[in-house]
């Protein structure tokens, strides 16, 4: 989790909170708010795919979030399940600490950067796109 905890710490998560989150007993931790516990609880059950059948867990989590927030919490866990699978399956090497430290420490993403990239995309729109299955090994 080297890569991920770096931004987390920039976002204000303490070492002690990280330890609490990864422990079995996080629901009883005085270091996490009830909303944070609910997010961690949901992440655990989404990842184990037990969220699907555990109405009791959903009830706990649902009390803490609006529907929009719940959708984002779920999507966030799903997105990193995807990244975890990608990294593990392709044996991605862990990055050197110096490289990890370069992570953009700002927790905010300036929407202008998104807009600029979209504009760059439009300005450089490809004339052709890859042919599906066109790279088959010969």
């Amino acid at each position: 989790m080297a890569h991920n905890t770096s931004l987390g710490q920039a976002a204000g998560i303490t070492e002690a909170q990280i330890e609490a989150i990864v422990s079995e007993d996080y629901m009883n931790s005085p270091l996490l708010s009830s909303r944070e516990k609910a997010a961690v609880l949901w992440a655990e059950h989404v990842t184990k795919n037990t969220a699907r059948d555990r109405d009791d867990i959903f009830e706990i989590v649902n009390k803490e979030f609006t529907e929009t927030e719940l959708i984002e919490v779920t999507l966030m866990s799903c997105l990193f399940n995807s990244w975890n699978r990608f990294m593990d399956s392709l044996h991605m090497p862990i990055e050197e600490q110096g490289e990890v430290d370069k992570i953009q420490k700002s927790v905010a993403l300036n929407p202008d950067r998104v807009k600029n990239y979209l504009q760059t995309m439009i300005d450089n729109w490809p004339e052709t796109f890859p042919e599906p299955d066109g790279q088959a090994l010969s």
């Binding site: 987390g8 989150i21 990864v22 909303r35 999507l75 953009q104 927790v107 990239y117």
Partner: protein, 83 residues
């Protein structure tokens, strides 16, 4: 051993170079994941926008980065993913 190769910052051209530039702008650097995804830049550019919007705050997501990072920490731990 890595199973796929990465496109280095010096080798990147065209769409991949633009991807790396945007990745640096948004994430501060080009992580290994995006150096691999640089092989399919027309897909990676969409993923970058989605990923950066999701993981950070202020560009559309309604949750704080802090809360979302907690979700990521638990998810990665349950998956025993060291990355």
């Amino acid at each position: 051993m890595p199973r796929v190769s990465q496109i280095g910052l010096d080798e990147a051209q065209g769409e991949t170079a633009r991807l790396y530039e945007a990745t640096t702008q948004m994430l501060g650097r080009v992580p290994h994941s995006f150096r691999v995804l640089g092989q399919t830049p027309l897909v990676a550019r969409m993923l970058l926008l989605f990923n950066a919007t999701m993981q950070r705050e202020g560009a559309g997501s309604v949750l704080s980065c802090k809360l979302k990072e907690m979700v990521i920490i638990k998810t990665s731990q349950v998956n025993a993913c060291n990355y």
